[in-house]
């Protein structure tokens, strides 16, 4: 092999070595702002009891690469329901961080059986995120049972009163002369 050939091979070897060993140029990443809301234990089926406190957790996850500030938590709910967040405001959430928020859901005592939609809203300075969850009211409300029982009791009392009052009139009436 001639000297020229050796030089060519050497050049190729050096070039390959440089290509392999030199660090790759780093790609510049764009700013990504994202917030993920997850209701624990689940987003799809959650059972709640009427007129009682039902505790859940909301995981607020900053899935972007920039810190999110001043996240205010609120909700859209059926009439008469009370939903409390603790804390109601997350002042700072770093990227990749998760903050757990306690949620207390108290359905109205007159709520009947069924599935209800509740919207959880997280509104920050940088982003607004909405999460819709379904809550199933399984436990029966005692309100209508009480109404039925009261009406039933009134009817029984009325029957007894009429029975005694009008039934007694027969005895009080003077006997007609033969």
């Amino acid at each position: 092999m001639s000297i020229t050939g050796k030089l060519c091979w050497l050049f190729l070897f050096a070039a390959s070595l440089v290509a392999i060993l030199l660090p790759r140029p780093t790609l510049a990443q764009g700013e990504k702002i994202d917030l993920t809301l997850t209701l624990v234990p689940g987003d799809y089926y959650n059972e709640v009891k009427v007129g009682e406190d039902n505790r859940f957790f909301l995981e607020v996850n900053n899935s972007g690469n920039k810190a999110i500030t001043n996240i205010r938590l609120s909700s859209e709910k059926p009439d008469g329901w009370v939903i409390d967040f603790r804390p109601a405001v997350i002042y700072y959430l770093d990227s990749g961080s998760i903050q757990t928020v306690d949620i207390n859901i108290r359905p109205d005592s007159k709520t009947t059986k069924g599935t209800y939609n509740v919207t959880l809203i997280a509104e920050a300075n940088e982003i607004r995120k909405v999460r819709s969850v379904w809550l199933t009211v399984e436990a029966s409300s005692t309100f209508w049972l009480w109404i039925g029982s009261i009406i039933g009791a009134v009817v029984v009392a009325g029957f007894v009163f009429i029975f005694l009052h009008f039934g007694r009139q027969q005895n009080n009436e003077p006997e007609s002369a033969p």
Binding site: T112, G114, G148, I151, G152, F159, I162, F163, Q170
Partner: protein, 135 residues
């Protein structure tokens, strides 16, 4: 004349029986009908004011009809007792009282009380069950 009076009393007793039968049957049928309608309304998905108004209207109807039936039955019982007392007196005057047992009077009383109990309980079921379904 006494025979005409006897016929009249018997006729009155027949009318009394028919009237009481109508009271009992009307009350029971209405109670069952109301039970079905109100249970259907309560079990339905509609939870608005209209469903509640329909339910309470039928409950009011059941209460009124049941009270009217009870009053009618009480009056019917009293009327029957008076007619039978007159009939017994007539039999006694004619010397044939041995053929009619006076304990029938108390039997009729018991029967009327049982009718009223049936009306009351079907009415109670017609009122309470829809509320249980709705709860």
């Amino acid at each position: 004349m006494i025979e005409r009076v006897h016929t009249h009393i018997i006729s009155e007793l027949g009318t009394n029986t028919r009237t009481d039968t109508i009271f009992v049957l009307t009350a029971i049928i209405l109670n069952l009908l109301s039970l079905g309608i109100n249970s259907g309304v309560a079990a339905g998905g509609e939870r608005d004011g209209t469903a509640t108004i329909v339910m309470f209207t039928f409950v009011a109807l059941v209460i009124v009809v049941n009270f009217v039936a009870e009053l009618g039955l009480i009056r019917g019982r009293q009327m029957r007792a008076k007619l039978l007392t007159g009939l017994l007196k007539m039999y006694k005057d004619q010397g044939v009282e041995g053929y009619y047992d006076p304990s029938l009077l108390s039997n009729y009383n018991t029967r009327y009380n049982l009718f009223m109990l049936v009306v009351l309980f079907t009415g109670l079921i017609a009122i309470i069950i829809p509320f249980v379904v709705r709860a």
